[in-house]
Amino acid sequence: MSAKEESPLKKVCIICAKGTIEDVYATLVMANGAVMEGIEAKVFFTFFGLDAITKKQMKRLKTATVGNPAMRAPGGLPFPTVLGMVPFVEMGVSAMMKSQMYKLDIPPVEEFMEMITAGGGELYACKLAMDMFKLEKKDLYEGVIDVLTIGDFYGKCGGDNTQIIFT
């Protein structure tokens, strides 16, 4: 740590609202990175982000192959959107994303969440989105502490040097 850093970050509150592989992993990497640095981390899953903590879906996250201009084929070749509409392409691309991450020792979603909670990170689900998607607490991964309103979640985001991050 440099001497200039007088007031280090103490807590991050991360809101995960999307359910693609990359959005969910962005959230998990940030949450895990925080607890590894001794920074408190609280994650709030809402809307499609709920897929990441829904038992049925968490192992089946996908990357969107349509409307994603930054996605290229291996070797940097262009990947036209219409290709993304071809059956099974999404599955193939998603499998490839996962295998590339696995090579970097980035674990599957469930194991990643275990790592985060082992470090004291906390996972919450959004009540409104749960109602909207007709989900119940029993449908969620066991590591999720509670189903909260956004107001209750904000109640956990107080304190100096706290940041809220939206992915």
């Binding site: 990497v29 895990n32 590894m36 020792d105």
Partner: protein, 103 residues
């Protein structure tokens, strides 16, 4: 880069306090380094430290996941051994470079 005398030995460390020459490391140095972070080393700590050093010597990237799968300690246990920095503090005490992985 700086020289630092610890446990009666002179060791070189970088500006963040990580040792730059792993061969200068021994258990007494580790004990003193751990004390700086308020940790009293046990046999379990040393098992982890030796593991970290072995992995690093092989040129592999360290992650807490690897430590969790080492059979020495699970991830929760690792946080318990090195509070506030399971990989960072342990690497510092193990006399190896600061971990370069995000996981």
């Amino acid at each position: 880069m700086a020289e630092k005398t610890i446990a009666g030995k002179s060791i070189s460390v970088n500006e963040e306090g990580y040792m730059t020459d792993p061969s200068q490391w021994d258990h007494d140095v580790a004990k003193e380094l751990a004390k700086e972070d308020g940790i009293e080393l046990t046999d379990k700590h040393f098992e982890v430290l030796e593991f970290l050093r072995t992995v690093t010597e092989k040129g592999e990237t360290l992650t807490i996941r690897k430590v969790g799968k080492s059979g020495i300690v699970d991830i929760k246990g690792l946080y318990g051994l090195f509070p506030g920095g399971p990989l960072k503090i342990s690497s510092k005490v193990a006399g190896i470079p600061k971990p370069s992985s995000c996981v």
